[in-house]
Symmetry: C2
């Protein structure tokens, strides 16, 4: 339902993806002026913030003026819980989502009918760019409910004219049955859950010919280029893993998505989102192309205007390739996921990149941090890909891994290798990688 | 999105609900002719069935001719799994749902965009009749995913112009937080889960003034009039429990719904569904107003035409009251839920009606059937509503319950009364009432 006529929308989309940068910048500036006024006039919290910084809508003429505006953090959601950042009364919303809120109250977000339509169209654009086509069957194995993954993907797949199988999470055997019986070409899930599914399929002896899947659109968890390579080399299927990005404060899945043919980073839908990369400590812009924290401004969100939101995600901005839009690199960590061991900054993604280089190891892992004797200790738990022949081979792999981790991070770690499947993320929800039992946790 | 202009759609709906019976019959006959041709021409399984009965589309002129057509059972889904009953190619579907398939393969159903639009509109009509209004917040605590409850309710609430909180099932504490923080007027869930929620709310000391809920739309489980009374008397809230009916083979939730003001049985949306009541043994129509198995013909379903489907649900057909449409009585059992103890037919609903008459008992219960010594034994497990003062009072309640069950069913049973909350359905999914450990089970 609510699917635009394919010919019209596809033509519009094609044009839009290839407008000139100048046209895009004009468009962005116009939308930025609108949204800043919208936020200022309708949300007392923004008005207060802007006034504190001695700035008003009249000071924002084009996107060059963006940095004059103050940054917004997750604290703003907590301070105004549940509806204080909203620009429309609750009765004008069509849907409310909420993040899980690991500590205290959840982060509540809301959408007008227009916002949901924008979201569905951007998610449809993402799926199309990833490789889905009208009439393709799409199995959605993200969780449905308050989490934006399931319903966000669902509405997008519908808007793309696909046949949606709303499998939701869990029940791996049944997911495999659905793949065999309904023949989906595309699946959406977390990267760790894709691996669980493919492992189950391989264990059931399912051949490449029996597997209809061609594209896996992976999100809601950070993953590495080596993880992608491992999906391709470890399983006898012909599935292209494609990266998608989103977060509920901004919209949900479909903020940026990788092109399934070029696989060269995530194209950011710049007609709706402005991106900046800042140094998370100085809050200043980093030099072009360098790693830093992603800050997003939503140009079109009605219900919950978002101006300069610190996403907490670390990435870099990359120039356009196949379309007019700039790209972001895969998320290489979260500002708050970074952990410090003996004074050295480490991202889980660095550890993952290293582990994935070992074909003898699976891609699931845990990082255990402790401080038994005043000094931090790091222990990595990995799985072997297959039962290892001897204690000698286990020790050999552990030694090589320890050396590589020492070389890349500067930290000496212990390594524990366990049997295949022990650490797998069976639930399909976000996976926990870091187990920090240190007091203080610097 | 895809919400019709409220003025137009509401006016149309009002007119439709009050057309004359004659106009409705004409409309039904026209649609019946169409759908029978559609099924015959596009689905070889139907063509084969019809031909076996020596009947063709030309024999169906009006709804009087309906009984000439053969009955369809769930076996047809199994025999044609997964897509053999479909009238359109898979690529023309918009969504696929599947029932859980407790034994073997699930029952796969599919919808075109038009089917989904019909479903959303009928579910919106149901919610409106139940008491929801444009701009009201609606919390949906049915499971989202392949089960039709969550997504069916979701699209309906959106089409009704409501603000949807897609809470899905589980996490009762969080559900209560959402009720307190987001102020929903309407909740949709299973009757047993509503009781769990209200019990949790009462335990947290939440007052009537703090509880925004006014209407609970309850489905996916059979429940009794006494259960409704107990919801009203046991909790200090002012919530009207309203009955809704649906099943995935027919559409999903919203096939019939009770009027929240008259509370006099479920109005069946006869512009889209034809109902018959048959004797499940003789397969003949039962006399008007008598209990039997509900058979439904869908007048408008494109993707998966349904002609004379035996739902397995036992109910009776009731004349129209507040609208032109006939009503069905609350489902009083399933043809296959009925169990036989010492040669006597018993429905769980009969037991539930009796238990709910005891204010000292909760509404959760289990029926345990065994055959320790060649003879069937029935034991009822109930919960007390509050910790009971003495063994004497426990024995007294058990005695009275045993006598009442003997009187109403003819079977003498043992009764075990346990502490409050032991038997509660915490998961929010379908509750299990019967535990039958007999061999053979007849």
């Amino acid at each position: 339902m609510n699917v635009d006529s394919p010919s019209v929308s596809q033509r519009d989309e094609q044009r839009l993806l290839h407008v000139s940068r100048d046209e895009l910048l004009d468009h962005q500036s116009r939308r930025l002026r609108n949204i800043v006024s919208w936020a200022y006039e309708r949300v007392p919290y923004y008005r207060g913030m802007f006034q504190e910084h001695g700035i008003g809508p009249q000071d924002i003429r084009d996107i060059e003026d963006l940095t004059k505006l103050p940054l917004l953090t997750k604290d703003a959601f907590r301070a105004t819980y549940p509806f204080g950042l909203f620009a429309v009364p609750q009765s004008q919303l069509t849907r409310i989502h909420a993040s899980s809120g690991t500590t205290g109250k959840p982060t509540v977000v809301g959408y007008t009918a227009e916002d949901l339509s924008t979201w569905a169209n951007l998610m449809a654009r993402s799926l199309t760019v990833a490789g889905a086509r009208r009439g393709d069957t799409v199995q959605i194995a993200f969780n449905y409910g308050l989490f934006t993954g399931g319903l966000g993907a669902h509405y997008g797949a519908e808007a793309a004219g696909c046949v949606v199988v709303p499998a939701s999470t869990g029940n791996t055997d049944r997911q495999v049955d659905l793949i065999l019986d309904l023949g989906p070409k595309v699946i959406l899930c977390t990267p760790s859950y894709l691996r669980v599914l493919l492992t189950a399929m391989a264990a059931r002896g399912i051949t490449k010919e029996q597997c209809s899947l061609k594209v896996a659109v992976l999100g809601a968890e950070q993953w590495s280029e080596n993880f992608r390579n491992r999906i391709i080399t470890d399983f006898p299927y012909n599935i292209t893993p494609v990266n998608i990005y989103g977060l509920s404060e901004i919209m949900g899945p479909g903020v940026a998505c990788e092109n399934g043919e070029t696989l060269d980073g995530l194209t950011l839908w710049e007609d709706h989102f402005l991106a900046e990369i800042i140094d998370p400590k100085t809050l200043r812009p980093v030099p072009s192309g360098e790693l830093g924290e992603l800050v997003i401004t939503c140009l079109t969100k009605e219900a919950l205007p978002i101006v300069r939101y610190r996403t907490g995600d670390l990435t870099r901005l990359l120039p356009p390739t196949w379309s007019t839009f700039q790209r972001i690199d895969r998320i290489s960590g979260r500002a708050d996921d970074m952990f410090i061991v003996r004074g050295l900054n480490i991202f889980p993604s660095t550890i993952e990149e290293i582990i994935c280089q070992f074909p003898e190891l699976g891609t699931d892992y845990q990082i255990h941090l402790s401080r038994p004797m005043h000094l931090d200790e790091m222990e990595l738990h990995c799985e072997s890909s297959y039962p290892l022949a001897s204690a000698t081979s286990t020790n050999d792999i552990a030694d090589r891994l320890t050396k590589l981790v020492q070389m890349k991070t500067g930290v000496s770690s212990k390594v524990k290798i366990c049997a295949p499947g022990i650490l797998a993320n069976l639930g399909g929800s976000k996976v926990k990688r870091i187990f920090d039992s240190r007091m203080g946790k610097i």
